[in-house]
């Protein structure tokens, strides 16, 4: 009897939050799946329509903007994550090796984290600015510094150029979190191991590779997994850096997430009688699966290489 009562009381604590979670997290999860499978889904009436099929999926894979978006996203993921992780590791290790000024540097490196992604993205946009085609706005910082006259982010920027800027921005804003976590991990390594390594006459580089990094590997793995997942969702950063001066992002510059968001708010069917909503849902599901696959891959690799 008492057990029941106790259980009930505990569930009271969870009641409202769970209720909200169910409506806004669990239910939508399933529903999105379903929407992607009903290619005539009507958003306005919330009517699933008659067709239960995979046409939404074929539609998106035939849509070159989706493939393009996926490519853009993958480029961001596979370049920015390793680059920012390695750079953050180098910085964290350097910070850990100096005593004076350490706190100051740490604070400086952390500032990007507290800023608004959108805002700083705009700053990058301005930094890399270039006279608008036709107009005579001034050359931005980068062009002035390096004496170049390239359109980095404007409407005439080539794919390589604007991807480069997006990557630079992504890495820049990904550093603080990683640096902080790495420093926390580094400081958790007991000094005794370093003393023992001194007695064992290990040269500095060996201490780094055979002791510090292996002991840090659980944290490195955690960072890699979370940043992979996070970078797949890139959207705001791209929007603010290379978004055109109009509210939306040029279709060629879409990321996977941008593609999904674009479909919200377009009701109705496209030329193939596929609902835009279904397409968006399908894209979201595809993204989800890609993230899942990579996460499991990461976990598998870390099981093999990480020393706990």
């Amino acid at each position: 009897m008492l057990d029941h009562k106790r259980d009930l009381k505990a569930w009271l604590y969870l009641l409202i939050p769970l209720f909200l979670l169910t409506i806004f997290t669990f239910y939508p999860l399933i529903k999105t799946f379903l929407i992607s499978l009903f290619s005539e889904y009507n958003a306005l009436t919330d009517d699933f329509g008659r067709y239960f099929d995979l046409y939404a999926y074929t539609a998106i894979f035939n849509d070159r903007f989706f493939i393009n978006a996926l490519t853009n996203t993958l480029v961001i993921v596979f370049v920015s994550v390793p680059a920012s992780t390695i750079l953050a590791l180098l910085i964290a290790v350097s910070l850990n090796s100096i005593k004076p000024l350490q706190k100051i540097f740490q604070t400086i490196f952390f500032i990007p984290y507290v800023t608004n992604a959108l805002a700083i993205g705009m700053v990058f946009n301005v930094m890399f600015s270039h006279p608008l085609v036709g107009g005579v706005a001034a050359e931005g910082l980068i062009n002035t510094l390096f004496q170049t006259a390239i359109d980095w982010v404007g409407p005439t920027a080539t794919v390589e150029r604007w991807r480069t800027v997006v990557l630079i921005y992504t890495i820049w804003s990904a550093l603080p979190f990683k640096i902080l976590v790495f420093i926390g991990g580094l400081q958790n390594i007991s000094k005794q191991y370093y003393d023992a390594a001194k007695i064992d006459a290990a040269p500095k580089w060996k201490v780094m590779t055979r002791i510090t990094i292996p002991l840090l590997s659980p944290i490195i793995s955690y960072i890699l997994i979370t940043s992979f997942i996070g970078s797949f969702k890139a959207y705001e950063s791209v929007l603010s850096v290379v978004g055109t001066v109009g509210r939306s992002l040029d279709r060629n510059r879409w990321t996977a997430v941008a593609y999904v968001y674009d479909k919200i708010g377009i009701s109705g069917l496209d030329i193939n009688n596929i609902s835009y909503y279904s397409r968006g849902a399908a894209a979201a599901v595809v993204l989800f699966f890609i993230i899942m696959i990579f996460t499991f891959l990461n976990l598998y690799i870390s099981k093999k290489t990480v020393h706990y």
Binding site: A10, L21, F24
Partner: protein, 314 residues
């Protein structure tokens, strides 16, 4: 390939060769480290400098010079005033103060509600023993991995059927606040902190006739103060920086500061030639960035410890 013997006619006993090399190597290493750190720190700072620089430049400079100068030629703080008072006709003539008000309101309620719920759930998961506890915890952990994009589509439909989308009343606020009120990450963080509070305190309190609820608010919450402050600050930061969702669902009059930023991006053009006034844009950016920086300065310890702790959990 035997090496010829190098005659060590070093008649100096005071300095062992090795020691000297060691010391210069040390010095070299230090110089390298500091240079590396300074250069990277500089690169990190540059955007902020640029932001400030351009924000104080006159429109004339920005439009008509060939290269944007590294330091404003004509110092123009009036940019800030203009930007502050700016309201876009296309967006229904709403000015910054309105957006600010919206953001503060939303921040207040989501922080209040969100933190309250996080405390309750974290407490139940950390302290109470009930059937299904581990199941719920595992489910919650699993959901942490779900990207928000999966939920957006359906949530939009749900929210619009509730009539909140583009509502010209409090519905817009609700649309922004309610769906993401419960944050699993915060619950996880708080649960970890709660778990570190010794069991003995709970049992002692029980023996003293204290109810669970009272124990939560009188013992656990005060002891977990720093984690709670961290959550609150993360919430505030999150609301301030929120863009996508609120942009989609809320009515213009109820949108948040980030939208204002973005629209100023769009519209602050010199209406004559259609060119973009970057100095106003940057001033807007500064206005949006500064409050967070202030928050950072005052609450630096909480923010940084919260972030680094989430990593050490492994």
């Amino acid at each position: 390939m035997a090496k010829a013997i190098h005659l060590n006619i070093n008649q100096d006993y005071q300095f062992d060769q090795k020691l000297k090399i060691q010391r210069t190597a040390q010095l070299f290493r230090n110089i390298l480290l500091y240079t590396f750190l300074t250069v990277t720190a500089f690169v990190v700072i540059v955007p902020f400098y640029w932001m400030l620089n351009v924000s104080f430049q006159s429109s004339n400079e920005v439009l008509n010079s060939l290269n944007v100068s590294f330091f404003p030629k004509v110092f123009s703080p009036q940019n800030y005033l203009n930007v502050f008072l700016y309201s876009s006709a296309a967006q229904g003539n709403i000015d910054f103060s309105r957006y600010l008000f919206n953001t503060v309101l939303v921040a207040f309620f989501t922080t209040l509600g969100g933190t309250f719920f996080s405390i309750l759930v974290a407490f139940a998961l950390a302290r109470l023993n009930f059937k299904g506890r581990d199941l719920i915890f595992t489910i919650l952990l699993a959901t942490m991995m779900i990207p928000g994009e999966m939920l957006v589509i359906s949530n939009f439909v749900t929210v619009s059927r509730l009539g909140w989308v583009n509502a010209n009343d409090a519905g817009s606020y609700l649309a922004v606040i309610i769906p993401f009120l419960v944050s699993i990450f915060h619950i996880y963080l708080l649960r970890q902190t709660f778990k570190q509070i010794p069991n003995e305190l709970y049992y002692a309190a029980k023996v003293d006739g204290c109810t669970d609820f009272k124990y939560l608010w009188k013992v656990m919450v005060p002891m977990a103060k720093s984690s709670i402050v961290t959550i609150i600050i993360l919430r505030i930061m999150g609301t301030w920086n929120a863009y996508i969702w609120q942009d989609i669902v809320a009515n213009e009059k109820y949108k948040l500061v980030t939208t204002w930023l973005r629209s100023s991006f769009v519209d602050l053009a010199d209406t004559g030639s259609g060119r973009v006034l970057t100095n106003y844009q940057m001033a807007a950016t500064v206005i949006v960035t500064v409050p967070l920086l202030l928050l950072f300065i005052f609450f630096r310890k909480y923010i940084m410890s919260g972030v680094s702790r989430s990593g050490v959990k492994g």
